[in-house]
């Protein structure tokens, strides 16, 4: 079976869930080969977790400056891995990355360098390499395949369920070229999204979002409490972000993040088409809105016409009670 290269998302200590999803998708196409880009020692720390999810090879693309430049070390590492495999007449079946902001950029840069076909934000992938994408704000499903070069595919986080598949993983070294500082952006300061114990928006199984109806930054406490009771992430509509209620990086919608959780709860969000585009592939949608005409209620699996400040805290208490007894 050909190798399928998987770019590992990690924080240096821990593999992100989105990578386990990629490894599961990769197994449909061939043998997963995980590419770890980081400072020396990172791959050794992550290898067992990757092997547990089916990675037969773990490439260590490590250098002391790997964390200092945006994207470039990852693009260099994947390009190197592809060229090395091609030189052994063992070209990979595909390169898979997570369709996060950073992953999508890595995918675009790699495809441009390799003159290869690129499929962005795929939600499914079949063994023949045909990827499913949902386009035009969720109104159309498109199945596409790459016809030229090694397929570079960015998978939407949440599209695959991680599955343990323990194998033996061989660790291989991948030499990174020195980064050209004139062609790279240096990261000079980093302030991680402080979300406490909350999962990442695009990775969460549950997302609770607030809109203009939340009324202010203080009102988001109600949204956060429900998210915490459900172990979910917090999102916000563009209207709420524009009004300054919540930071931009939590924005769900066409110009923010697309999310696809098991459960999406929209609180005080009317449901502009741009917002619906970013969440309507969620498995189950719940909406609470005062306005019975709110468009979001037309696609909610469970819609409540009512005051979110009455409904959400009550739901939070019920969920918390259920969690503590169950």
């Amino acid at each position: 079976m050909p190798d399928v290269l998987v770019l590992v998302d990690h924080d240096g200590e821990r593999v992100h869930k989105s990578t386990y999803e990629l490894l599961r998708a990769a197994r449909r196409l061939g043998d997963p080969a995980a590419v770890v880009v980081g400072t020396p020692g990172t791959a050794a720390r992550l290898r067992d977790a990757l092997a547990r999810h089916g990675a037969r090879r773990v490439y260590a693309a490590e250098s002391t400056e790997a964390d200092e430049f945006l994207g470039t070390p990852a693009v260099d590492a994947l390009e190197r891995a592809v060229l090395d495999l091609a030189a052994e007449a063992a070209s990979p079946a595909a390169v898979l990355v997570s369709a996060t902001t950073a992953g999508t950029e890595v995918a675009g840069r790699l495809a441009a360098r390799l003159d290869a076909g690129l499929l962005i934000d795929a939600v499914d992938l079949d063994p023949s390499g045909v990827a499913t994408q949902i386009v035009f704000g969720g109104s159309c499903t498109v199945r596409s395949q790459v016809t030229h070069g090694i397929p570079v595919i960015a998978l939407r986080p949440g599209s695959f369920e991680p599955e343990e598949h323990p194998v033996e993983a061989a660790e291989l070294q991948l030499t990174l070229p020195p980064v050209d500082p004139a062609a790279s952006a240096r990261v000079t300061a980093r302030r991680a999204a402080v979300a406490g114990d909350r999962p990442e928006l695009t990775e969460a199984a549950v997302v609770v979002s607030g809109g203009r109806g939340v009324g202010g930054a203080d009102g988001f406490k109600v949204v956060e409490e429900l998210a915490d009771a459900l172990g979910g992430a917090v999102g916000a509509s563009r209207a709420a972000v524009d009004a300054g209620y919540y930071p931009h990086r939590y924005q769900v919608g066409q110009t923010g993040k697309s999310v696809s959780p098991q459960l999406y709860i929209a609180l005080g969000i009317s449901g502009a088409i741009q917002h619906l585009a970013g969440m309507q592939t969620s498995r189950t949608i719940v909406a609470v809105n005062k306005d019975p005409e709110a468009p979001v209620l037309d696609l909610a699996d469970y819609g409540v016409v009512g005051d979110l400040f009455a409904v959400a805290p009550r739901l939070t208490r019920e969920v918390a009670a259920r969690r503590s007894t169950g």
Binding site: L70, T100, T101, T104, E105, A107, G108, R109, A111, A112, G117, I120, V135, F136, G137, S139, T141, V142, R143, S144, Q145, V146, T147, H148, A182, A183, S184, A185, V187, A189, R190, R191, A192, A193, E200, V206, H248, R249, Y250, Q254, T255, L263, I273, Q274, V286, V288, P292, D298, D301, G303, V304, V305, G306, A310, P313, R314, L315, E318, R322, R323
Partner: protein, 260 residues
């Protein structure tokens, strides 16, 4: 300094969009094209630099004849000149071709210091194009900027994404893509609209940008749509009006659905 702004005209997001029956490419005829809002913010940033540090601003747009309107709008906002990339062979261009063509157009401008673009157009390419253009031009990619500072031959941006905030720094020349948080774009004045009509716009095609390539060398897309189907609209499910019990009943629903 010399700034190139990449703009893309996209169908109005408020309008319904369809895939063309014939070849599954976006049916751009069926929706009103507008200058993508994020591009206007990239243009605004270029014009702000023009006013503060002095710059010559070239606006580049690739697309059918209507893309010329996008060029004219940025000229009306205050850009100095335009390049309209128009070639029937570019219909259905993928990310890689789009990036190559844009990179080639940037190369036709002398001594470029800064390339500015929107961080994602709303019609589907999800932000990969600016990073790919930067890579092809071997420029530092400072993407998703919500704040941009140019000083002493360097550019610094505050980048904001779902994984947090970072400060990026690079020497010029560089490419910066901007988020919708970066500024509020100006409206073209009447005077600007009139002046734009006299500003130079160069129309170029593939043969101008790639004089050495043979026609067969112009690969337009590296992907193929095998199937495109409209998704059934999501139907509304249960609807209740809160009488004080909705929170509890909603919890029961979630428990029954094994979501809690």
């Amino acid at each position: 300094m010399n700034i190139v702004v990449l703009v893309k005209q996209v169908p109005d997001t408020g309008a319904e969009r369809t895939l063309s029956e014939a070849d599954h490419t976006l049916d751009r005829e069926s929706a009103d094209p507008v200058l993508d809002e994020i591009n206007e913010r990239a243009a605004e940033e270029a014009l702000t630099l023009k006013e503060t540090v002095g710059a010559d601003v070239t606006v580049v747009s690739m697309g059918p004849d209507s893309a010329l309107d996008a060029v004219r709008k940025v000229l009306a906002m205050g850009a100095d000149r335009g390049i309209h990339i128009s070639d029937d062979r570019l219909r259905g261009a993928d990310v890689v071709t789009t990036a190559r063509v844009l990179a080639a157009a940037v190369r036709t401008v002398d001594d470029v210091d800064l390339v500015l673009a929107g961080d994602a157009t709303t019609d589907g390419q999800a932000g990969a194009v600016p990073a790919a253009v930067a890579d092809l031009l071997r420029l530092p990619p400072l993407t998703h900027a919500r704040e941009l500072t140019v000083d002493a031959g360097r550019v610094r941006v505050e980048r904001e994404t779902e994984s947090g905030e970072t400060t990026l720094d690079a020497p010029l020349p560089a490419l910066v893509s901007v988020t919708e948080k970066i500024n509020e774009p100006r409206y073209p004045s009447f005077k600007g609209i009139m002046a734009a009509k006299k500003k130079p716009v160069r129309t170029v095609g593939l043969d101008d940008l790639f004089p050495d390539a043979d026609t067969a060398g112009h690969l337009v897309t590296r992907t193929r749509v095998v199937e495109a189907v409209p998704r059934p609209a999501r139907a509304a499910g249960i609807r209740v009006t809160d009488d004080g019990s909705a929170g509890r009943r909603l919890a029961e629903y979630l428990i029954a659905q094994k979501l809690v």
